[in-house]
Subunit: 236 residues, 2 copies
């Protein structure tokens, strides 16, 4: 059962996508929408505030709620396909090649990122290719006690599907850093790069809903196929 504010949110989002309300247009006021949807004004406000965060609306006290001009069509950020390649390529032609899959004692740095002491972790090195062209080199560490039973077959498909569907865990959030780096020897080898090439590095610490860190990863992307989009909103 979807809560009401999400019903309103989804409906408004569709109306915006389908240009029921146009760029720069003022949408009906909160009171009217509350009557239309049969809910309170606060519920409408909660829904519209989500769309403000996503960069589709502007709400002006004393004036009204307006559709942003020119707003980019932006899908909800997907934690797995964070980097944007799923938008460009789709899942169909994406292939994962496992380069290394082992259980190790983590280095001090990795243990610190995962916030663990005296725990073993999976080390996973994967190459992800689109139409057989290597695009992403992925180095992932996960504590085995948080994600038990991970097998190589899961790596060839989606680790996140295993966590969500088979283990029944949900992902709460991810803290990411994005930067550029010169290609290292692994990058050159697996992504077919040269001394003068560079990659986009995404460093990520990911949390489950139970509060546990389940993943620390560094992902190297060919720069040509990487772009990160976001909306920054002045809240506070």
């Amino acid at each position: 059962m979807l809560p009401k504010y999400k019903v309103v949110y989804e409906d408004m989002k569709n109306k915006l996508k389908n240009h029921v309300y146009e760029s720069n247009e003022k949408i009906p006021d909160g009171g009217s929408l509350a009557i239309d949807y049969g809910c309170s004004k606060l519920t409408v406000a909660k829904a519209l505030d989500l769309l403000v965060q996503e960069g589709m609306l502007i709400r002006r006290q004393g004036s009204g709620t307006y559709v942003k001009e020119n707003f980019p069509s932006r899908t909800t950020i997907d934690l797995e396909h964070l980097s944007g390649y799923s938008k460009k390529f789709g899942k169909k032609h994406l292939k994962s090649t496992v380069i290394e899959f082992s259980i190790i004692t983590p280095t001090t740095e990795i243990a610190k990122r995962l916030n663990i002491i005296d725990e073993f972790v999976y080390k996973i090195l994967r190459l992800r290719s689109v139409d057989n062209i290597p695009q992403i080199l992925e180095e992932t560490y996960m504590p085995i006690y948080v994600i038990p039973g991970l097998k190589e077959k899961h790596l060839e498909e989606s680790i996140y599907d295993y966590i969500n569907n088979e283990l029944g865990f949900k992902i709460q959030s991810a803290h990411v850093s994005i930067r550029g780096e010169k290609a290292n020897s692994n990058d050159k080898k697996h992504l077919n790069l040269t001394d003068y090439d560079f990659v986009m590095e995404i460093e990520k610490i990911a949390f489950l809903e139970n509060g546990k860190i389940f993943e620390y990863s560094k992902t190297h992307h060919k720069y040509e196929s990487f772009e990160f989009n976001t909306v920054l909103v002045n809240n506070i």
Copy 2:
């Protein structure tokens, strides 16, 4: 007069920074905090939800609200110093050199981004240096009818200060894309780069609270001094 939920938000944020509540610790429940702060539970929830968005707390239905382990010390994103260099360098040693400042008829592409027709725009090319080392090359376009009266002296300091303090406008949001690019001829010239160097490109469309787009910019950063940090939270 700060609204109550922001008072609660600021107070809780300070408590987290000062380790009044430790990593992984459960903080008091919403009802207790409401009594402590002399407000309703909803007001507490609104404050705590902000901290969830910022990656400092996790709220688990049926369980409680917990301090995230290992959470990065993250300052609120600053739209001007978005790129993170202000954190690294501070404002003190930052210098701006104006390379070009003119009023032009925008290209079709720029007019499209700014969502204008038949309007003149400022074109601004600035080089920003830290301790006299050039770090950032900035190409900015602003419609003159949105930002009237901009002078060269404002460019040497902060355009945003002019907009906020002298014009009295507030910035609502910015839509940004981040990617890596090979250094172009301008980059090589002004950032002292070579054929084999690359830069981080930030493309930005920025909105005022009145809904108008006031800026379209492309900023090129030396990759060594650029990092973008964010927290992605599963909301919906």
